[in-house]
């Protein structure tokens, strides 16, 4: 099954596109006491979306995407402590820092492919982890970077204890990045990366500078992951070394596979399901909740090509055809 709608007639309606945002707003108004959980979901959606750009659309295999999430988190934290408490300025600084890291590391490693690339992405995250551990004076080492106190958003909306401001702040940032991603993957640039993923040699043979395109997409993906990390730092007010760990990279990959690659909304479904299962199953049994995720992952990979979003899209298409005038019974 191809990950991209087979033809323009399969494009979802405007209501379909509005659905996740309406659900998020409904959650804001109806789920009192759960806004912090919602914030976590929104941040992980953004992080997963960033991986979808690199891995899903451009085919850049990586086990080190946490490098950019963590770099963005530390950058936002340090910016807050040493430069300015303005959260939007901190967000911009962290995003640019992560983009620069993506640009430099991407330029170095995207000549390689396969296992070599996988190991290099892993190594970059490990190097950053060790650097953050050793630069204790700057980062707090394994105690973490504490004392982050973001100011009011636009100078008006202070971060509250219940996470309501954080929720709307994260939702707004996610919406902006989603629009950017939407535009990018549908542009000739984005479609050319789809071509690179399918056949890089062929893309070179039609004049595409493959390496440059990959580096550009990698930097964009890194910027988005950096924003997610910055949101995490600003809303939890703490950055720990775990942001660079392999587990963080692994979790976001699991979220993407659960939701479905190359769908954008797959990130929404995968991250939401993962965080909710973690919350609910973790409350029942804090040691074995990963068992539920494992079962889900095995079932998705074995039986549902395209992840949960693929299942939803197939159902939507069937409903549309079934409901169309004159449609076959």
């Amino acid at each position: 099954m191809s990950a991209i709608p087979q033809s323009k007639s399969d494009e979802p309606s405007a209501l379909w596109h509005a659905l996740p945002w309406l659900l998020a707003l409904a959650f804001f108004f109806l789920a009192d006491g759960y806004h912090s959980l919602g914030v976590n979901i929104l941040i992980m959606i953004l992080f997963t979306l960033s991986l979808d750009l690199a891995l899903g659309y451009a085919g850049i295999i990586t086990l080190g995407h946490a490098a950019f999430f963590g770099f963005g988190a530390y950058a936002a934290g340090l910016f807050n402590l040493h430069v300015s408490a303005d959260p939007l300025l901190g967000l911009a600084a962290a995003t640019l820092a992560a983009a620069a890291l993506g640009l430099v590391t991407g330029a170095l490693i995207l000549h390689t492919r396969g296992e070599t690339l996988l190991m290099l992405t892993l190594a970059i995250a490990a190097i950053l982890h060790e650097a953050a551990n050793h630069m204790r004076d700057l980062t707090g080492g394994d105690d973490g970077l504490a004392g982050i106190r973001p100011g009011a958003v636009f100078g008006l909306f202070r971060f509250d204890l219940w996470g309501k401001t954080s929720f709307l702040y994260c939702l707004g940032v996610l919406f902006v990045w989603f629009l950017i991603s939407w535009r990018v993957v549908r542009s000739p640039f984005g479609r050319s990366l789809d071509g690179v993923r399918q056949n890089a040699k062929r893309m070179r043979a039609i004049g595409t500078p493959v390496w440059l395109r990959l580096v550009a997409m990698y930097a964009l993906s890194a910027a988005m992951a950096g924003t997610a990390g910055a949101l995490s730092a600003q809303t939890t007010r703490l950055v720990g070394l775990s942001v660079f760990e392999l587990l963080t990279s692994g979790i976001v990959a699991v979220m993407l596979v659960l939701g479905g690659e190359r769908r954008l909304y797959g990130a929404f479904v995968g991250a939401t399901i993962y965080v909710l299962v973690q919350d609910v199953a973790g409350a029942i049994n804090p040691f074995y909740w990963m068992f539920v995720i494992g079962i889900l992952l095995v079932a998705i990979v074995l039986f549902f090509d395209g992840g949960l979003m693929g299942v939803i899209e197939t159902a939507r298409r069937k409903l549309r055809r079934g409901g169309a005038p004159g449609a076959a019974p």
């Binding site: 191809s2 789809d194 004049g207 595409t208």
Partner: protein, 235 residues
């Protein structure tokens, strides 16, 4: 919008293996040259070498007098080469319009011009590559080459595996490109009769070397060459 192609003493292959051993020929600007030979003699390797997709050991490739033999593949396309590979290799998840959009370069054909040439493709512009028939895929592969910046069009067995009626339509479209665009065309083709009808001159490869060269009209009457190098009339 055309440039000549000159190949001088080309030695190339895959890794340490030499497939092309001292190939030299010239295709003047606007000319159509047929490259013939049995299976496995190096025809596809020659086109792949022109595109920079093999290991070039020695020799020169001149496009409009400019050496392109050491350029990376994508820069050769910007220099004016465009390539229609044997297996078409269109992108299955991209629509027809997107397949053209990702290959478009300034100075190339517009998608509208491609759709004028292949009206059947225009009606399918919103369909994904994996929803096209073999003939439509081939038309798209040719169109995708033309929206680059074509001076020299390299065609690798464009008629392969197509039904006779589709071959007829495609041949007519390629003839129109040859007659009206002024492109230099290098055609690798197993269907000898079509290739000889299409091109003015031909070269015949055997085991990585050029073993016959001349006008297509002369090859049509040279039964010995046809028998020896192309297997025509062989027992």
């Amino acid at each position: 919008m055309s440039a000549g192609l000159k190949i001088d003493n080309l030695v190339a292959g895959y890794g340490p293996t030499v497939v092309l051993d001292g190939i030299s020929f010239e295709a003047p600007a606007g000319a159509a040259l047929a490259v013939l030979g049995r299976n496995g003699v190096g025809k596809t390797t020659m086109l792949a070498t022109l595109m920079g997709l093999t290991s070039l050991k020695s020799g020169e490739i001149l496009l409009g007098g400019k050496s392109i033999g050491r350029m990376p593949t994508h820069e050769r396309v910007h220099a004016g080469l465009c390539y229609v590979p044997q297996e078409r290799r269109i992108f299955p998840s991209l629509t027809v319009a997107e397949n053209l959009a990702v290959a478009a370069l300034p100075g190339g054909w517009t998608p509208a011009a491609v759709f004028d040439l292949f009206p059947g493709l225009a009606a399918r512009r919103g369909n994904a590559g994996n929803q096209l028939s073999g003939g439509e895929q081939q038309m798209l592969a040719v169109g995708r080459a033309l929206v680059g910046k074509p001076d020299v069009l390299l065609l690798d067995e464009p008629m392969e595996g197509l039904a006779p009626i589709i071959v007829e339509g495609l041949f007519a479209a390629l003839s129109k490109i040859r007659d009206e665009s002024g492109l230099t065309i290098i055609l690798v083709e197993q269907k000898v009769d079509l290739a000889l009808e299409f091109a003015r001159d031909a070269i015949v490869l055997d085991r990585g070397k050029i073993v016959w060269r001349g006008a297509c009209a002369a090859l049509r009457t040279d039964e010995e060459a046809q028998h020896l190098y192309l297997g025509v009339g062989a027992d």
